[in-house]
Subunit: 395 residues, 2 copies
């Protein structure tokens, strides 16, 4: 069981405190699982309080013992409710003044009201952008975890090719693939930031399923098994000469890697073969061009140009008016991290950002082709965390 | 793919409108997936607006086509952002006055601020309790879905008994069990209401793993695979003469059933055998006594008395100061529905509430025994949705 080194946590806290001071925030309260895990080294239920300088305190409702066991933080304090905090000895010397950062993008109204009542002398401001910007750049420790996850996914794709054949349903193939990655330690849960984190392993999309749009802001969706959870694999059958788009998230030891591969039995229509090659061209171009200092918008524009040159602009990242307007996104503890390689995003790439690059092309009635791998931004371009074998995989 | 009948949605909306009027709320805004699915018949991303009388409108950002295809609601309207709503023709005749219900327990601060800015003439009040109370009582349509899910889980437990043996790890057994339920249509995702819906299929807890407390408010937790997601199955090995506590949630066609079974190879210590029998006694007593009009507190107290009489009070629902103070909970679209059979809860049981009853007993160093099945409240007591074979299962 990998634990987060104390030095790693120390650096993360120091970096956050630096940002808090820049933004004139006197402290931050974190209640969300991904953020608590990042700064405390373990997720448990409670409130992680980080002052703009000095020692953070992890106030834990449950489980205190597990928090103390795994967190390198020096101050882990048991509480029954966050309302107790001001009365605790550890909180007596704190100046509860100024503006406190909160996770406004995920903190429910009810918990916000509780914080306002508990700390009536504070004002509150959204600090999620600071947290998310910090988390976008990975440490070597984090990269090593993601690299291991990517290797597991690579091996699972290889194995899947040996186990499937046309005539199987998306659900049946999903169950097999999920078994392969689960037994290697996939944590099942994939953290997605925001209201309605409606996600799991990923999607297995045979033929036309690759064209079904979902609630999720991405190129692909899938019908799912019912209107209750209309995303991902359905009971549709994968047929010969149809693309099987496998879009799955590895989630190991707390970190995601985002991957897609296309399997085919027989031959794809020429149009789909061409489109898949265009996706590979986009990956190659971005590997060379996307480096520190390049903006997200420039990377997205380059992808669009390549799709456009091939006459495939209207198939790129979805079809018609449901097209997604990005070609990649940060990935780490959460699937939807910063930055997003999207139209209008002027953010510059930074060394050691980790990006899922996912050029996908969608053809009504035929399905989806394309690819996805997870890369780290290096000085000379994108370095893949997996073996990046993005060819059409024939079974 | 089961779709929700129009009559079902009509009844649900009428019931909500009745409650809104009682509470002097002029309308409700719903943004959360479970609530949208319940009242619209499909989850898609957007805002479901329900006035205290008249037709609701489902404003859909994505996917509009899928929402219109599956929702029986007559008004499904495409939007790019909820901020557009007041300017839409459909919203022009609405009186944006009075107090509007919002889901304060799950709605993030950021979306709340957006609603306040978009509808400056409204005030807002938490309506989640109304929604959750309504959803606690199931229709025959919902019961049929949950019954199917319970039957799938029953069959999977039977099959699991044939596939496992001591020496296998919790993770390995989990991967097999998850394959068995996935291939029958388990949707993987299990909806848990609140900030940090950190959950998936469930937990496979061999021996001492049954004593590891997690962030989750329940009798059992488990160490999980890393401090990033410290709940559920670990890599620990299941040994002969140890209990294997399997605590898994069925999640089919949008509805959960909560189940647990204990497997053993060899013989359990006498103390554990006795404790398991006490759990069966508690189930039996509640089946007879828990009926409409009985309070949740009374049901909980009855369970505690039986544990107490057997000298097992301090092992009941966890050990020591991390004991959970309940013996069951509502279950439906979300795992943690109302009511909770807990200390101090004066809520009376109502016909057609669906309850997971889960008497579990925890012994330091030995593990957990007990059972869990899902029941519907009938006039003469609790009727199990599964076959309720809660004996120790010998393999």
């Amino acid at each position: 069981m990998p634990t987060i080194p104390a030095s790693e946590i120390k650096t993360r806290i120091a970096c956050l405190q630096n940002r808090l001071r820049q933004e004139k925030l006197s402290m931050a309260f974190m209640l969300q699982a991904a953020d608590i895990f990042y700064y405390a080294g373990v997720f448990q239920q409670g409130v992680l309080w980080v002052p703009d300088e000095g020692e953070p305190i992890f106030f834990v409702r449950r489980s205190f013992d597990e928090a103390r066991r795994f967190s390198p933080l020096s101050q882990v304090v048991a509480i029954k409710s966050p309302r107790q905090i001001p009365a605790l000895p550890q909180a007596k010397q704190v100046q509860w003044e100024g503006c406190a950062g909160i996770e406004s993008d995920v903190l429910p109204v009810q918990q916000y009201e509780m914080l306002k009542e508990t700390f009536p002398t504070l004002t509150f401001h959204n600090c999620s952008p600071l947290i998310r910007e910090q988390r976008a750049v990975k440490s070597d420790f984090e990269l090593a975890i993601q690299r291991r996850g990517a290797a597991i996914m690579d091996a699972a794709y290889q194995q899947l090719g040996k186990e499937i054949r046309p005539g199987m349903s998306e659900l049946e193939i999903s169950a097999r693939f999920e078994y392969l990655i689960r037994i290697e330690g996939h944590q099942v849960a994939v953290r997605v930031r925001g209201l309605n984190p409606e996600f799991h392993y990923g999607s297995m999309l045979a033929g036309n399923s690759g064209t079904v749009v979902s609630f999720f802001d991405g190129a692909l969706g899938g019908a799912g098994l019912s209107p209750a959870f209309p995303i991902g694999s359905s009971r549709s059958i994968w047929n010969k000469n149809e693309p099987l788009m496998v879009d799955y998230v590895g989630s190991f030891d707390g970190y995601c890697v985002d991957t897609s591969r296309v399997f085919v039995a027989g031959e794809l229509a020429g149009q789909l073969q061409l489109a898949h090659q265009v996706a590979l061209d986009i990956i190659k171009a971005l590997q060379n061009k996307a480096r520190p200092g390049v903006t997200c918008e420039e990377a997205y524009a380059l992808s669009c140009e390549i799709a456009q040159s091939a006459g495939l602009a209207k198939h790129f990242m979805g079809y018609g008016d449901t097209q997604a307007k990005f070609v990649g996104h940060g990935v780490g503890i959460e699937l939807n991290e910063l930055p997003v390689l999207a139209r209008g995003n002027q953010t510059c790439l930074v060394r050691n950002m980790v990006l899922a690059i996912e050029p996908k092309l969608v053809f009504p009635a035929l399905g989806a082709v394309g690819t996805e791998s997870t890369f780290v931004v290096r000085d000379d371009g994108l370095e893949p965390l997996d073996v990046c074998d993005n060819r059409l995989l024939h079974v």
